[in-house]
């Protein structure tokens, strides 16, 4: 079975001094030497914490696990980890063991027996996080659900393949649970199952936290206040209260557990954590947003009032003291500006007890400084230490009514370190508890180094990491979310939209097309003239107006003289008819546009269209005419096309920008219009919409010309892209953009109604597109 194990001499004969251990070893009936090596240790731990029945259950479970035929690892993991699991779920471990054994049995019976080892190896860490049998059961349920839904479904075979993601999920479980609640874990897992049940490699990437969307969903499900959700509020906060427009850059707290990054700022911006949990301190609750504001206020204060000093002359202790004093000076000044900040700072600031640190055994300088720091901010502090009181007084005296300086704080700090020095300050064991003030930045800006020192590396490192990538030649993609109607959530950063200038062809071709439609153009021109903003429109029958309307005035006067009640509305006035319209014409350039007009069933080629013309050519004519018409009206307009080749490549081709004129450059692009690929409508709508939303006009119109239902080759699920497109239309409406669809697909009614609500029209006779499109536009904007 497991190679390499058979050759080793059977360990069943191993003997132990302790009779109970010996008996247990016998009962276990295990031949693995590796297990025999640690068995005594494990038993000692078990004997210390288990009652007799618990011990029996433990050994029985171990015996079963030893006989699974998976080598010594699962048994080793179980023997070593179970006491911890049981302790974490203490009180109610009885129901938990059968649950765990049940899980193992299900795995063993399925093709997933390989996952038993990672399952047992991380179970203790998971239990430490979850801390209750009930929660651990939820976790087991999530794992089994994942297993059931990802096993054997590949290529439609029956329960033959193990779940590719399960072992990775089990390995990552402790880390996941440090960031997510079990509810969040379930959502995160569901997302991976839903999207990657049929892609073994991507499933592995997802569950081993390798892929971007895996991170993105994890981020979305996290507890606390996410930077991404409050970014605008923070920008506004900095600008409004501190007149600081610095760039904010979040760093990840999820994937850097070792270093525990601290906020800082440098030339490239202010770095803040990507998430802040609410804190429920003894001195009040502070929400994540308030914590962000505290961090920003503190850094803004440094940027306003701190200067840097040479670090080389100071010992590490002295530097630490300088930083504490300087941080307190900054916060005192901040509180002067906004007194309400005191409450927030104090609620976040630790309040160490005076007796918490033992100076006989431990270095207490940090502890002393943390108390002093609190005392400097809170006049009602509880401390009585005379040195602390003295320096508190000196600090306030130094500040006076002015701002003092970093330099003065450094002097005060040096004298503080000298006055309070203790032999034990040098001890290696430093008292850290209750001394970390996590809204303060790392103060790297405070120090200037002349000589390279070891510290230097620490300071350099993040800067190097954050170097800007080399200038990229093509535009990077913009990523848009996609709506998943099944889970009613967005798939974050799902579709990548690449924008490019449309290639150019021959502008004269477009002029020829326009000539071909000269008669139509003349007809349109008459209509356009009616629509065009007329500087003055007369409004008659006004009681108050700018001019006397003589006809009516005379008849009123006659009425008056005859003793009849005269019509008082004898004035007229003028109204200037302004139009404020921005319109973006978005063309579907997918493959189906290459179809022949005459080739469609039930289509009769009318007078306007020429037999054998493609829909693409017809669209070109129509768009040219519309462009010409809008140009006559003087509305601002843009033209773009789109097509897609999976969510990773949505092309958005720019044909005319709002500021471009209707000239040969634009006509040349229009002339080169080509069709291919698929129709990922939502992504294109969002991208076009972001341009329109930024336009100044009162009325913003997105006119979409699709020739089929939203579709793409990486989407099999019918209805997904349709519901995403509907969502995109709703998003645009919320931004003040009106979307209107003129569908070239005569059978479109059902889905266009679904996507566009009331704002759509289906073109029954596609050959009439050149005249329909401009008149539609005029109707819409009348």
């Amino acid at each position: 079975m497991v190679t390499g194990v058979r050759q080793v001499p059977d360990a069943r004969g191993r003997s132990y001094a302790h009779p109970q251990v010996q008996a247990a070893w016998q009962a276990l009936d295990c031949g693995f030497a590796a297990v025999a090596d640690v068995f005594e240790e494990c038993m000692n731990a078990a004997l210390a914490s288990f009652s007799k029945p618990q011990l029996d259950a433990y050994l029985e479970a171990a015996r079963v696990i030893g006989k699974l035929g998976r080598g010594p690892e699962p048994l080793l993991a179980f023997l070593e980890e179970w006491p911890t699991v049981a302790a974490a779920a203490s009180g109610d471990q009885e129901p938990l063991l059968p649950q765990v054994m049940g899980t193992i049995r299900v795995m063993q019976k399925s093709p997933n027996s390989k996952a038993i080892t990672p399952f047992l190896q991380t179970l203790a860490a998971v239990a430490r996080r979850l801390q209750s049998a009930e929660q651990i059961e939820v976790y087991l349920d999530i794992a089994l659900n994942l297993m059931a839904r990802t096993t054997g479904s590949i290529h439609g075979h029956h329960t033959t393949f193990p779940s590719p993601g399960l072992p990775h999920f089990l390995e990552q479980a402790p880390r996941l649970l440090s960031l997510l609640s079990t509810a969040g874990l379930r959502n995160w897992t569901d997302y991976g199952i839903r999207n990657y049940a049929n892609h073994p490699e991507r499933q592995i990437d997802y569950f081993s936290l390798q892929s971007a969307d895996s991170h993105a969903v994890l981020q979305r499900e996290r507890h606390g206040t996410l930077f991404a959700d409050v970014e605008r509020k923070l920008d506004l906060y900095l600008r409004a209260l501190w007149r600081d427009a610095e760039q904010l850059v979040p760093y990840s707290t999820a994937f850097d557990e070792l270093r525990k990054p601290i906020p800082y700022f440098d030339k490239l911006g202010m770095r803040v954590p990507d998430v802040f949990d609410d804190v429920q301190g003894p001195r009040g609750a502070i929400g994540g947003l308030e914590r962000y504001r505290a961090v920003l206020a503190h850094m803004a204060g440094h940027r306003r009032w701190s200067s840097s000093i040479i670090a080389d002359n100071y010992s590490p202790f002295q530097r630490m003291a300088v930083e504490f004093f300087e941080d307190c000076r900054i916060e005192t000044l901040l509180i002067r500006e906004y007194p309400g900040l005191r409450r927030i700072f104090l609620a976040l600031h630790p309040l160490p007890g005076e007796a918490e640190c033992d100076p006989e055994t431990t270095s207490c300088l940090r502890h002393r400084l943390a108390m002093l720091s609190y005392a400097l901010l809170d006049p009602q502090h509880p401390y009585t230490n005379p040195q602390l009181l003295e320096f508190t007084a000196r600090f306030h005296e130094t500040l006076g009514e002015g701002t003092s300086s970093t330099r003065e704080m450094a002097d005060l700090a040096l004298s503080y370190v000298a006055r309070t020095r203790r032999q034990s300050d040098q001890f290696a064991k430093v008292h850290f508890d209750n001394t970390v003030i996590d809204y303060r930045d790392d103060n790297r800006h405070l120090w200037q180094y002349i000589e390279d020192s070891d510290d230097e590396e620490f300071f350099d490192d993040p800067v190097k990491q954050n170097k800007k990538p080399a200038e990229v030649l093509s535009l990077p993609p913009r990523r848009y979310p996609e709506w998943d109607y099944q889970s009613q959530t967005y798939r974050p950063d799902w579709a990548s939209v690449y924008e490019a200038l449309h290639p150019s062809g021959n502008a004269a071709d477009i002029d020829r097309l326009l000539e071909k439609h000269a008669a139509l153009a003349r007809h349109l021109k008459r209509l356009l003239d009616l629509l065009k903003p007329q500087d003055k429109v007369r409004i008659r029958y006004q009681e108050e107006g700018s001019d006397l309307d003589l006809d009516i005035a005379i008849s009123s006067l006659i009425d008056y003289k005859c003793g009849v009640a005269p019509d008082p509305r004898i004035n007229m006035s003028h109204r200037t008819d302004g139009r404020s319209i921005d319109v973006l014409l978005l063309l579907d350039l997918s493959e189906s546009l290459n179809g022949q007009v005459g080739g469609q069933v039930g289509q009769k080629v009318g007078a306007g269209g020429t037999a054998g013309q493609t829909i693409l050519e017809l669209s070109q004519e129509a768009v040219s005419l519309l462009a010409w018409a809008i140009d006559c009206l003087g509305d601002a307009y843009a033209i773009a096309g789109f097509r897609s080749n999976t969510r990773h490549e949505v092309r958005y081709q720019h044909i005319k920008g709002f500021s471009e004129r209707w000239d040969d450059t634009v006509k040349a692009r229009l002339a080169a219009m080509e069709a291919g690929w698929s129709t990922r409508m939502g992504a294109a709508l969002r991208h076009a919409g972001h341009y329109l939303a930024a336009r100044p006009a009162e009325k913003k119109i997105l006119l979409l010309l699709p020739d089929g239902e939203p579709a793409d080759i990486d989407v099999t699920e019918p209805g997904h892209l349709r519901s995403d497109a509907r969502k995109a239309v709703e998003e645009l409406a919320a931004k003040g953009v009106t979307t209107f669809c003129l569908s070239l697909d005569p059978n479109a009614d059902e889905y266009v109604r679904d996507i566009f609500g009331k704002r759509w029209r289906v073109l029954d006779r596609i050959e009439r597109l050149p005249e329909t499109l401009p008149s539609l536009y005029m109707e819409l904007t009348r």
């Binding site: 605008r232 509020k233 920008d235 506004l236 906060y237 600008r239 409004a240 209260l241 007149r243 504001r293 500006e337 906004y338 007194p339 309400g340 900040l341 005191r342 107006g545 700018s546 001019d547 006397l548 005035a553 009123s556 006067l557 008056y560 005269p566 008082p568 004898i570 004035n571 006035s573 003028h574 200037t576 302004g578 404020s580 100044p696």
Partner: protein
């Protein structure tokens, strides 16, 4: 009708000068040069004109311009009565005849054709043609035209034409610096200076957001409102929200930020 008395500013309005605008205005008046007052809403433009009219002892006729206003609303029109039609002077005509200072508030709000009728009054001709009546009025020697104009506040469509702008001397107004503004608010509302200073501070946080989601910051006028409410016993935080934050924005993020500024400003 043209009773000069009724247009005189009888009691001295409180006006806190920000710079040398009083002397400079007097010089412009002495030369009868037209004046344009630029600056954000509620920063004291109207108050300044009122004060100058009082100081110079001239009648003041103020016209608040709006979108529906036409040239006839300024110049005058025919009305109907028992004897037929009768001409009624508009406020601009009245001012020109009587020798008043005519203050056209927010002139860009009015229609384009309105601005053209003031042209002959603003150059050496100092005349006002009443086309419909076939009369040409020579402006009274004391007449002066003053307009106000808030740049960037209206849409792009509404801007003064160069040919109009270049007929005026201009004063740039802005919200006064903090100490002065505090004094103004304290004086206007009777509120203590310390609280007034806090209100100004909050107003300034909003002014920092101009162009970043706010078209206009919190005006002196709104600060005076808030101060008045506090003086009448409304709790400061409530007064600030109601008179300073809520009126200026519907943007939830901005509201949250300004609300926070209000909370952070009061200990």
């Amino acid at each position: 009708m043209s009773n000069k008395e009724q247009y005189l500013v009888r009691t001295e309005p409180f006006y806190q000068a920000q710079g040398r605008e009083v002397i400079l205005y007097e010089a412009a008046y002495a030369a009868r040069l037209p004046v344009m007052l630029k600056g954000p809403t509620g920063c004291g433009k109207s108050r300044f004109v009122e004060y100058m009219a009082w100081k110079l002892g001239k009648p003041l006729i103020t016209v608040a311009c709006n979108e529906d206003m036409t040239a006839s609303d300024l110049v005058g029109r025919y009305l109907l009565d028992a004897n037929g039609t009768r001409w009624l002077d508009g406020p601009l005509t009245t001012a020109a005849r009587m020798g008043a200072i005519c203050y056209l508030d927010e002139i860009v709000e009015a229609r384009q054709d309105t601005t053209v009728v003031i042209h002959p009054l603003t150059d050496h001709r100092r005349t006002l043609p009443l086309d419909k009546k076939g009369e040409l009025i020579e402006a009274h020697p004391d007449f002066q035209l003053v307009i106000s104009y808030t740049p960037g506040y209206q849409s792009l469509m509404k801007d003064l034409k160069q040919s109009t702008k270049q007929r005026f001397t201009a004063f740039d107004f802005d919200y006064p610096e903090a100490a002065l503004e505090t004094q103004i608010v304290a004086q206007e509302s009777g509120l203590d200076a310390a609280t007034a200073a806090t209100l100004i501070k909050i107003a300034q946080t909003a002014r920092n957001l101009k162009g970043h989601g706010l078209d206009e910051g919190i005006s002196t006028r709104l600060v005076v409102y808030a101060a008045t409410l506090i003086k009448r016993g409304v709790p400061p935080q409530d007064a600030c929200r109601m008179a300073m934050v809520r009126p200026i924005t519907d943007d939830a993020d901005i509201r949250a930020t300004l609300d926070h500024a209000v909370d952070a400003s009061f200990a």
